[in-house]
């Protein structure tokens, strides 16, 4: 409780009240000037100076704007704004203009506590909204992914069914074994496609939904350059079958040690090399390089194809196949998930000399 009043409050200096309220009160003198009434708080002096008639509009563009507006009502509040004092310390202020009995007053308050309270509430509300937006987007992405999986698994099943029905009809007509070759081969091709798709979905989801699998479990020191050379050697036969020259990085070179999962890194290389060979016509070349840039190791695969037919950002999303059939559309998505899991980046661009370049970089250990 406060103590007894020992003087007449009616005759009390209003400056005492203003100090108690931690606000500065200024009276309009006409001609646009404002004079401080009583002793202003230290924070006000720090911002607007010690003059009895501080140049508010010069110091504060916000107050210049607020005071420059026409005012029809008796009181108007400015809303909260930030000002800095001469030493760079910021303060959150709010001003109120009062017009009463021919007088025009301006009350400037330090509302830092009020500002902090509002900001905390808004911050919490905005973070909740962002989390909700993220959740809805992830849900939508999962729904699309599921639709794509259903679609891509159902298509081969229909083809297999048609071919087996055709084979059965051939048997019923008494056709020879040779007549069954084509429908069975087509069925086999579709079964292989389904198997590959199921394997890729398994890999993608284990990397996407369980980062530990692709992240740290089973993580080893890998020589990036050596892995690239091994992958290039592994794809030489396929490239030769297609008439494509596959040029790998030099055998001798610095080792590029990274921490990662050897099988996943090999799978990334398989995806990039498989795509590059598929997009390169016979007689063309796929060129592979690896190296060091500062604290990161990089790999580049340049194909001899027509270049990118999709926006590079879209290529690494699930079920993006471009104009080239024969892939599940999950390979590059898997590469992105894996490389990013290790703190790296992956991208694609049209190469200056033609073809497309796919690259990734990962931190060196």
């Amino acid at each position: 409780m406060s103590g007894p009043i020992d003087s007449d409050p009616v005759s009390c200096d209003p400056g005492i009240v203003f100090r108690g309220l931690n606000c500065a009160v200024l009276a309009n003198q006409g001609g646009g000037g404002w004079r401080v009434w009583g002793e202003p708080p230290p924070w006000f002096v720090g911002i607007f100076g010690e003059e009895e008639a501080p140049s508010l509009e010069e110091t504060s563009p916000f107050l210049a704007d607020f005071l420059g507006r026409e005012m029809d009502e008796r009181t108007r509040r400015s809303g909260i704004w930030e000002e800095s004092d001469t030493e760079g310390r910021s303060a959150w202020l709010e001003a109120t203009r009062i017009r009463e009995n021919g007088m025009c007053l301006l009350v400037v308050e330090d509302v830092e506590d009020e500002h902090d309270r509002i900001r905390r509430v808004q911050q919490h509300s905005h973070e909740q909204s962002l989390a909700r937006e993220r959740g809805l987007r992830e849900l939508e992405a999962k729904r699309i992914l599921l639709d794509c999986i259903m679609h891509d698994l159902a298509n081969p099943a229909s083809t297999i069914l048609m071919n087996l029905q055709h084979a059965l009809r051939q048997l019923e007509r008494g056709a020879g074994i040779e007549a069954l070759r084509h429908p069975l081969e087509r069925s086999l091709g579709q079964v292989e496609r389904q198997r590959d798709l199921i394997r890729e979905i398994g890999e993608v989801f284990s990397a996407d939904l369980n980062p530990a699998v692709a992240g740290t479990d089973g993580e080893k020191w890998i020589d990036l350059a050596e892995t690239v050379r091994e992958a290039v050697a592994g794809w030489q036969t396929r490239a030769e079958e297609k008439g494509v020259r596959l040029a790998g990085p030099a055998d001798e070179g610095d080792s590029l040690n990274v921490a990662g999962h050897p099988l996943y890194l090999a799978r990334v290389m398989d995806n990039l090399l498989g795509n590059a060979i598929r997009h390169t016509p016979a007689g063309g070349e796929v060129s592979v390089a690896a190296g060091r840039s500062g604290t990161r190791g990089w790999v580049s695969v340049i194909d001899g194809g027509p270049g990118l037919d999709l926006d590079p950002g879209q290529l690494f999303r699930p079920f993006i196949q471009g104009s080239h059939p024969g892939s599940s559309g999950l390979g590059l998505y898997f590469c992105r998930m894996t490389v990013e899991m290790w703190g790296g980046k992956i991208g694609a661009r049209d190469h200056a000399d033609g073809g497309a370049e796919f690259w990734f970089e990962v931190p060196l250990s």
């Binding site: 909260i80 509002i118 900001r119 808004q122």
Partner: protein, 166 residues
Amino acid sequence: MEKKKICLVGAFAVGKTSLVRRYVSGVFSEEYLTTAGVKIDQKTVELEGGPVRLLVWDLAGSDDFARVEKSYLNGSSGFLFVANGTRPESVDVVLEDAARILVDHPGAVSFFLVNKADLAEEWALSEERLADLERQFPVFRTSALSGEGVEEAFVELARRIVSGEA
């Protein structure tokens, strides 16, 4: 020196404050701190006709409970309508704000900034949506993180305000 007031308008958490900090101070912080109230920064732009002092009003972002306070926009010569490319909802919000604001400020120069260009591969805006925005505004792809497009947007806005180009 001539002074021109410009306002950044957009939904919460699209990067308005980060864009101002990048432009005025050349810095960026990953931390998200929502803006409550108004903060005004100043920066001088050197143009062919001489220097211009930009008063950059960073306003609290629109959310479900509050839209931009109209009185703060009085006297503004230009607007930067800001959206986050990874959040399509933020485009809807700022377009609603822009439609209301431009009724009251038909002569103001207005640009549309699609922020977070460093996350372009995560943008959730179709090419059609971007093309539609480009039919309504000059569009800048910006990144407060990398600085991409930031200086260009502010300086071009100042240049058009001074030259009177729409």
